[in-house]
């Protein structure tokens, strides 16, 4: 059996309940990283570094810019069609001491730094020993920031909520 050098679909943990759950959780985590600002990612990596917990990594690919063809659906729910492309930056890293862990980062826009930090964090996240740190120090921060953004945006547009009235005009009465 060949080593699964490129099959990063499965996290390294053996404790994962099953593959699809583990994938789902990893996907959720990557989503949080992609939607985050760069500052908290940087802060978390710095704090790992200060605690001596940040291992070395090698770039396996990128960071590099490319395109993703964006699809929509007719009517929002029908047949899919191509809307246009979006610029994305991607990066893949391997941990220097644990080469079988491949971390991936994909983020919209021209953001090489974000993509690399994301890839490193994805790789570290796959190490069981670092999991509690992510659960305690990074994920809640990112989730709170995202929630706050949702609420701020919603509050802003909520002020423009409108009720239209239809009125019966007098002329028709007689």
């Amino acid at each position: 059996m060949q080593s699964q050098a490129y099959d990063a679909g499965k996290p390294a943990q053996d404790s994962a309940p099953n593959e699809s759950d583990a994938q789902h959780i990893r996907a959720e985590h990557l989503r949080l990283l992609a939607l985050a600002e760069e500052t908290p990612l940087e802060a978390f990596l710095d704090s790992l570094d200060e605690q001596g917990l940040l291992p070395g990594w090698n770039l396996a690919r990128g960071p590099e810019a490319g395109l993703v063809m964006i699809r929509g659906r007719i009517g929002g729910q029908g047949q899919p069609f191509n809307v246009g492309e979006a610029l994305v930056t991607r990066c893949c890293v391997r941990l220097s001491k644990e080469q079988d862990i491949l971390g991936c980062g994909y983020v919209l826009g021209e953001r090489p730094r974000h993509a690399e930090m994301m890839a490193v964090l994805d790789a570290l996240w796959q190490k069981p020993d670092l999991a509690p740190l992510f659960d305690k120090e990074l994920d809640p921060v990112l989730a709170r920031a995202l929630q706050a953004r949702y609420e701020a945006d919603r509050a802003q547009s909520a002020a423009t909520k409108v009720d239209f009235f239809t009125m019966v005009r007098g002329e028709d009465k007689d």
């Binding site: 985590h29 993703v68 063809m69 007719i74 899919p80 069609f81 826009g109 423009t160």
Partner: protein, 429 residues
Amino acid sequence: MYVAVKGGEKAIAAAHRLLRQERRGPCDIPELGLDQIAHQLKFAVDRVMAEASLYCPNLAALAIKQAAGDLQEAIFLLRAYRTTLPRFAASLPLETDCMRQSRRISATWKDLPGGQILGSTFDYTHRLLDRSLEGNASCDPAPCAVQETADNKAFACAAESQESPETPESAGSAGFRDTGSFPHPPRLPRASHALEQEGLLERSWSAYEQERQGRMEDAQTLAAIADITRDPLELPCDRPEDRPLRLQMLARADEGFLLGMAYSTQRGFGAVHPFTSELRRGLVECSIVPEELDFPLVIGELEVTECVTISRYTGTALDPCLTQGYGLVFGNNERKALSMSIADRALRAREMEEEETGPAQNPEFVLLHGDNVDASGFVQHIKLPHYVDFQAELSLIRELRKARANKAQDGAKDGAAKEGTETSGGAQA
């Protein structure tokens, strides 16, 4: 036949220097920053992204700066840049139901489930020049005041109560990691939902939806979607299955052209009488399945404007019903989204067995002439040296004139000769 012209390098270089200088303007005026363009000329940026068919606000702002505000030139620059990049993947279709909406209106339902949100809009403004913007007005730091009325809370609750489709139920119970607490945007019902339930809306798209629920759309179905950037247009492109391709071309078509097409159908050159069923604008998450991971992954949010128009149908292809047109455009551009949805509906003329009474119903006319990079390249190329072509033109005209003059002369001679003959004949007689 094309004949090359040589020379002029120095003059061309100087012309480009002059262009750069004029773009910059007088040095005592501060230079425009990209963030200023991206945030203060957002409509320009959004238009450039949509028509360049490349979503990237930074680069669109750069293109606008470099083109000194000539948006079509900026679109050309960004399109050209697009061709230098590799394509990593294609996204899963955007779930616009889960859009984080900054605007959402319906002109057909005043009591829209989920509420009507005006958002920021030019609608209802008085179109009076605001002289207060003349100076360097300071930025108003106060955020848009939120009236926490009962209504607004109800809206928020209504939105939240719609169960987020991606909330993982297994995550908590599996005792692995608690991702269930990560926030997700709510799903908002569509305005046309009630019409669909009542069967008044044409069947085609809801049928697709039902079919899709039954089976997973596999990668091959998605890979087979027609793509105008990879395969050339094949006319007539008027079948129902060509609609995805037409929509892609409309999404990158010139806004002004589409507006004109939509307007022409409303004025009678075509058979569309549209109502705005729903217009949405907001941020929607984009997911891809990267090559090295075999699961879908959210890579960020992009802003889109989506428009569904509905129009009455009393033709022969279907029972009397409401048919729909669809528009989906990058960024904030509702004029284009609306025009696109009307043009989309008009282009379904053959499918709907409608008589073609206007150019907006003709796919060849609309699709081949709507792309402003194509159009502007072809129209503007006649500025470039055509000296040899033109000499040929001149010599042709000279020939024709000569031929005609000769003919006239011969005619005159013939006439004179005839007259002479007659006269002489008469004399003889």
